[in-house]
């Protein structure tokens, strides 16, 4: 006879269970990639082509037509280092929000840690992020980029901020989506805002000056702080600091290239907010997951 204790089935340990089922996570990620590129000639190459085209469009519209090339030194690198990060966030959150409903067939029939699905979605997006990072690095090296430990550390933390944020929001919206399918539409709207609400296409000084002009120093200052607290803003600026800033020369004032106190103030704030979001996401997810099987 066995010595195993009686346990209550269906009570998971949250994200801890995901760590325990790493092998299943790996298979789910592989499945996602295989299914996504099944019957496609370009396959994973699409993750080069899509951002490439997007980059060219933005570069023409903003860099050339709107004159950003003149305002910002090495604007293509500035632009691309922000785009890759925002693309990662957009894809990760969009898929994570749909992952629970999308895997409903399985969730309804077999018990497994359901957190696996949003996490797998974010993981797949991270895999798509790698080739884009590669292209960015090549461009940086051509522009004379010599990275230091601080730069690489900032890039890693910028990436982690976005990944945690995407997992946290993915857990939240993914579980709410089971009850209200409005959730995924809301996320789409949020993502449309995300690209414009962080300094991807323009520089942070334009935000500051614009807000100060429009609302005066008082209100403008408050609005600018709100803008700064957005973890995406912080992560994008960390990427600018890591990839774009080392390629600039004397033309760009190093004091205003990225917001002041980026590393010693904003970076810890960004990490703290992401951790908070992931805790909140996990909390909501666990409150709602008990009824997933019957609502799906």
């Amino acid at each position: 006879m066995s010595t195993i204790d009686l346990t209550t089935p269906g009570l998971g340990g949250g994200l801890k269970d995901v760590l325990r089922s790493r092998y299943l996570l790996k298979l789910l990620v592989q499945k996602e990639l295989k299914v996504r590129y099944r019957g496609s000639v370009l396959g994973l190459l699409w993750s080069y082509v899509k951002p490439g085209v997007q980059f060219v469009v933005f570069w023409f519209a903003l860099g050339i037509f709107l004159g950003m090339n003149r305002n910002t030194e090495n604007y293509p690198i500035y632009l691309f280092s922000g785009i890759v990060l925002i693309n990662f966030f957009n894809e990760a959150l969009s898929n994570a929000s749909r992952s629970i409903v999308g895997n409903g067939g399985l969730i309804k029939k077999i018990y497994l840690p359901r957190e696996l699905f949003p996490v797998a979605s974010v993981w797949v997006s991270a895999i798509h992020f790698v080739p884009q990072l590669f292209v960015l690095l090549i461009a940086c090296f051509i522009a004379g980029w010599t990275p230091g430990v601080v730069q690489i550390g900032a890039a890693v933390i910028g990436f982690l901020i976005v990944a945690l944020l995407a997992i946290g929001l993915g857990l939240f919206f993914g579980s709410v989506n089971v009850y209200f399918r409005d959730s995924e539409n809301f996320v789409d709207m949020l993502l449309m805002i995300a690209t414009w609400a962080s300094p991807v296409l323009y520089s942070w000084t334009m935000v500051r000056d614009g807000l100060f002009d429009a609302f005066g120093a008082g209100t403008g200052g408050i609005l600018h702080t709100i803008y700064q607290v957005n973890p995406l803003t912080i992560a994008v600026e960390l990427f600018h600091f890591a990839f774009w800033m080392p390629t600039t020369s004397g033309v760009t004032d190093p004091l205003t290239a990225v917001p002041p106190n980026l590393l010693d103030l904003w970076m810890p704030i960004g990490v703290a907010i992401s951790v908070l979001v992931i805790l909140l996401g996990q909390f909501t997810f666990r409150r709602l997951e008990g009824r997933f099987a019957q609502e799906l």
Binding site: M1, S2, I4, D5, L6, T7, T8, P9, G10, L11, S21, Y23, L24, L27, L28, Q30, K31, K34, V35, R38, G105, L106, I107, K108, K109, I110, Y111, L112, G290, R291, A293, Q294, E295
Partner: protein, 243 residues
Amino acid sequence: MTTAIEVRGISKEFVLRHTRSIKEAFVWIMKGRKGDLSKKFHALSDVSLTIEQGESVALLGLNGSGKSTLLKHISGVMLPDVGTVQTRGRVAGLIEVGAGFHPDLSGRDNVYLNGAILGMSEEQIEERFDDILEFSEIGQFIDTEVKFYSSGMYLRLAFSVAVHTNPEVFLVDEILAVGDEPFQKKCIARIKELADDGKTLVVVSHDLDLVAQICKRGVLLEHGRVVLDSTVDDAVATLRSRH
């Protein structure tokens, strides 16, 4: 004897109508929130069931009597509104054919994926892969996408994976109907083997003669209540006489 499954006084209420519109909700609030916005009904009412290790139990009842719902509570997919469920050891369920199979993946990929979903480690799957393949008799089709499989082949592979997960408690919900006769015989033999090995079985099937071969104990469900808990022959006879 050691208890393998302990179900104590569980009830489960389902909402009958899920769609709610803003207009309906508004009218409901305006009327002073009288009545329920959505109708509810009990799929399980005060079900208690204790199953010892090594027992093989048939869960019988008409369509909609709550058999699948009960299995889902035992496997942890659903949580009861009231009451508790406890299990000992790993529970694997074959609840519907090939849940967790992805149509666009090859049979091989699906064996790995499904094995991992049912709780096997990478080494365990690799070690048992040949046995799984042999048992399923899928042969050369193992590298074909499973959407091109016949329903019987699908079942064979799914069943093969499930029996090789080696769980302590094995839940089977209405899956034997699709296989051809030789394979059905093989499955039954395998299930009996599991029972002889001291595994706990809970089998749901409308094939009453078949289920009587496999199981010793029979539990009859009616409208979400246990109405009889006796030998399988008794349960089958009662079910037949009542309807």
